[in-house]
């Protein structure tokens, strides 16, 4: 469960991050823009959490423990923002 702040200001996502974590994560990222998110201990993340990462694009450190996240979600989040997560044209 959890979004944990390490001593050096890194946000750690550990274990299974449920939908309720999304709000906390969002608040943290707003409070500390530029913070790195370390998700190596993340064994699962609810869509709401991933959506926050997708919207704010913080720097990510490490490969998440969850194979699904590592294989399918990480590449999307690690793309350079400019070419970016494809956005649907309005």
């Amino acid at each position: 469960m959890t979004v944990r702040i390490a001593g050096d200001g890194t946000l750690h996502l550990d274990g299974l991050c449920g939908s309720e974590e999304a709000e906390a994560l969002l608040a943290r990222l707003i409070a500390t823009p530029g913070a790195t998110v370390d998700w190596q201990g993340c064994t699962g993340a609810h869509t709401a959490v991933v959506q926050v990462l997708l919207a704010l694009r913080p720097k990510l450190r490490g490969v998440p423990a969850s194979a699904f996240l590592a294989r399918h979600v990480a590449p999307l989040l690690n793309r350079p923002p400019a070419g970016g997560a494809a956005r649907l044209e309005a």
């Binding site: 939908s19 969002l26 869509t47 926050v52 919207a55 704010l56 999307l76 649907l88 044209e89």
Partner: protein
């Protein structure tokens, strides 16, 4: 088979017939709510019955069709010919299952793949069909296509693209999280996930204004599993899913190289498109057979069957080649959906109905007769006692007793004769069926033919309530089928030609039945191009059936009769696996076996009419018994003209055959015992024909006279024939009966005896 299953089969077959009729009616009259309702109810009830006998696979397959029909009923989806075709295909599968149950007594255990194929058949369709309830993310949905397409393109360019069977764009509802849904978890659980992309909707709020619990995502997914496997996962989830079915990989990995299958099919296509020379028919047949085998071996049984039916319906080689190319290009779902085109094999069981619906009055009449027979039986016992113990003694008393007994026996016999007549009548009445039984199978077949040939054709039937013996009604199916095929194939012109000729584009074939005295008259009339007798004469000449001069000398009516000539068939339809020999000669023979006749009438440019005449019941016949080769044989009396004694000197040899002159005609002579393969009687006891004489029965069939040499003549009899069944069914006999002395009398089918 237990009674429960028997009942299930009876009712299921009726439901299939009802459902078919309703589907076709709905196609004719799309606004007719009753027809669609009827079809829906038929599927619904069939589904329920399948559930009761624990046949889950069939229930699931029917459910898929029922769902589709329910959508039509509610107006959500328009009724298309394609949908009707799919429902009909589903019913075909149901009939195959019913046949399997009939054969084994229980539901088949290997029905899953076929059920899966049916479900897949209904699952494809508009790729934009929304599968689940829930609000649609409007903006995202409309904009999705462009982004989706470009992602799909990039995706398919990658190495794993060849495995992809389907792709989808999944946009959950905005409040998906509040519903407890986790879209990513859903995707994680999908089988065969190949590629994923996540896109946010176009709005880009500032971080502080983001609502973390509002779902703004669309997920693009590519999977190696087909849509049918994935769709159920999304049932019950909110939002919208846009599907793309992708070309499948060729055959199973690990099986024989898929390329080999492709190459083989390509080779068959080339053969089908090859030059139409003398050997073409043979190559066509073997090309089809090979293609069929390859498709089956590649696990594409649905397509193999579709190909087979297309070929059996008489599609042109070009059409077959096209269909095969389509299958190769890997639109298996599309060609399976095109399957409605061809007519089914006699999947609609050729095994006659094993049960009859009977009016209660008829059964009551039989009960009454039983009572009267019982009375006669008691009388007979009385007579027997009288005969055994004559009253009084002395020559005169005995003679008187004998005369009295004779009188009683005579009146007893008369009473029996009357009762037997009534019994025959009553029993025959039980076996009577309305022609509806066979007529109701025709519209579906005509529809399939119409699609296979690409010509719009409508079938109109009249007089379906006309009744005839069950055996006749059931035996009519094949001949009617052939006649309808000919009408569709050769009679009715393509729509364009009809329009040019000032006819309505849709060809009409009318099947009309009525009772004329003690015979059944059935007309099949089309408003097509009529029969071109010039072509008939040319073809007959080409097949060596007669000299060109003889052919030219035929009148128009006689030339029309050429279509009945053996070996005349205008199209070679023996495909090896369908194995049907056709031609109007087969129709004539089949009808003759029932005691029927067929004649043809045609008006060039206006149409053709085939007139069938059949007995209403086949069981009672007048027979002349004869002896040949030590056997008693029966000859149908209607074929017998005369019996004569010929001096042997009057018989001439012509080559290996013999003939004689009778009433200024030359008549061929056949020795009956020889032609039946019977040993000649060792020594005819009281020389029936004197040393120098032959006993000859002169027969007449279809205007041809013949002579049958026999050893002895017997009596004329009226008999009730039992048709030969099982192993004996192939013999040239109309049936058998028992003689008074217990011997079996075989009644010959003289047509079949002709050399």
């Amino acid at each position: 088979m237990n009674e429960f299953i028997e009942q299930f089969l009876i009712e299921a077959r009726e439901l299939v017939a009802q459902g078919t009729a309703d589907l076709l009616a709905a196609e004719e009259r799309p606004r007719d709510a009753a027809a669609i309702d009827g079809a829906f109810r038929a599927f619904h009830t069939l589904k329920g019955s399948a559930g009761i006998i624990d046949f889950a696979a069939m229930a699931r397959a029917l459910h898929a069709a029922e769902d589709a029909l329910s959508q039509v009923r509610s107006g959500a989806v328009p009724l298309t010919g394609e949908l009707i075709g799919r429902c009909l295909t589903c019913l075909d599968q149901v009939v195959r299952w019913l046949d399997a149950i009939e054969a084994t007594g229980e539901p088949p255990t290997d029905a899953e793949p076929a059920a899966g194929a049916m479900i897949a058949l209904f699952a494809q369709g508009d790729s934009a069909a929304p599968p689940a309830a829930g609000p649609i993310a409007a903006g995202a949905r409309e904009a999705a296509p462009a982004a989706f397409e470009s992602w799909l393109e990039r995706c398919l360019a990658t190495a794993s693209a060849s495995k992809a069977r389907c792709a989808l764009a999944y946009t959950p509802a905005e409040d998906a999280f509040f519903r407890g849904e986790d879209p990513l978890a859903t995707v994680e659980a999908l089988p065969g996930l190949l590629a994923l992309d996540l896109v946010l909707d176009a709005a880009s709020p500032a971080p502080e204004e983001i609502d973390p619990f509002r779902c703004r995502l669309t997920l693009f997914i590519a999977s190696s599993e087909p849509r049918s496997q994935l769709a159920p996962v999304f049932a019950g989830l909110s939002g919208a899913v846009e599907w793309r079915d992708l070309a499948p990989p060729a055959a199973d990995p690990g099986e024989a190289a898929p390329d080999a299958a492709t190459l083989l099919i390509e080779a068959q296509i080339a053969l089908l498109r090859g030059p139409r020379d003398g050997g073409f028919e043979g190559r066509r047949a073997s090309a089809l057979h090979a293609a069929w085998q390859v498709l089956r071996a590649s696990g594409r049984a649905l397509e193999a069957d579709a190909l087979e039916r297309l070929a059996a319906s008489g599609a042109t080689p070009e059409r077959l080649a096209e269909t095969l190319s389509g299958m190769l290009a890997g639109a298996p779902a599309a060609s399976a959906a095109a399957a409605p085109a061809p007519p089914p094999e006699p999947v609609i069981a050729d095994i006659g109905a094993r049960s009859l619906r009977v009016d209660v009055e008829r059964v009551d009449a039989l009960v009454r007769l039983t009572g009267e027979f019982t009375v006669l039986k008691t009388q007979a016992a009385h007579h027997a006692r009288l005969a055994a113990a004559p009253a009084g003694s002395g020559e005169a008393a005995r003679e008187l007793a004998a005369r009295e007994l004779a009188a009683r026996l005579k009146s007893h016999h008369e009473a029996l004769e009357r009762l037997v007549g009534e019994l025959q009548h009553a029993v025959l009445g039980l076996r009577v069926l309305p022609l509806r039984h066979v007529f109701q199978r025709l519209p579906r077949l005509v529809r399939d033919m119409s699609e296979a040939l690409g010509k719009p054709i409508r079938l109109v039937s009249e007089g379906e309530e006309t009744q005839a013996d069950k055996a006749i009604v059931e035996a009519l199916f094949e001949p009617l089928l052939h006649i309808l095929r000919n009408a569709a194939d050769h009679g009715i012109e393509p729509a364009a030609a009809r329009a040019a000729a000032g006819k309505p584009e849709t060809g009409i074939v009318v099947v009309r039945a009525r009772r004329v005295e003690d015979r059944l008259a059935i007309d099949i009339e089309d408003d097509g191009a009529g029969i071109d007798t010039a072509r008939l004469r040319a073809r007959a000449a080409a097949r060596g059936l007669a000299t060109p001069d003889a052919l030219a000398a035929l009148s128009e009516e006689e030339a029309l009769e050429l279509i009945f000539a053996p070996g005349f068939s205008t199209r070679d339809e023996v495909t090896g696996y369908s194995g049907r020999g056709v031609g109007m000669d087969a129709v004539r023979v089949a009808l003759a076996r029932l005691g029927g006749r067929v004649s043809v009438h045609s008006r060039p440019g206006e149409g053709t009419r085939l007139a069938l005449s059949l007995p209403v019941s086949i069981l009672k016949s007048d027979v002349l018994s004869v002896e040949a080769g030590g056997q008693v044989l029966g000859l149908p009396l209607e074929a017998v003209v005369e019996t004569v004694r010929l001096p042997r000197s009057a018989i001439s040899r012509i080559g290996a055959a013999r003939a004689f002159v009778w009433r200024a005609r030359t008549v061929p002579l056949i020795n009956l015992s020889q032609s039946m393969g019977l040993a000649p009687a060792p020594s005819p006891a009281p020389a029936p024909a004197g040393e120098g004489e032959a006993l000859v029965v002169i027969t007449r069939l279809d205007g041809q006279y013949g002579g049958l040499e026999v050893e002895r003549l017997g009596a004329r009899m009226e008999v009730m024939l039992r048709p030969l069944e099982g192993l004996l069914a192939g013999l040239p006999c109309l049936g058998t009966t028992l003689l008074g002395d217990g011997r079996v009398l075989i009644v010959l089918d003289l047509e079949a005896l002709q050399p």
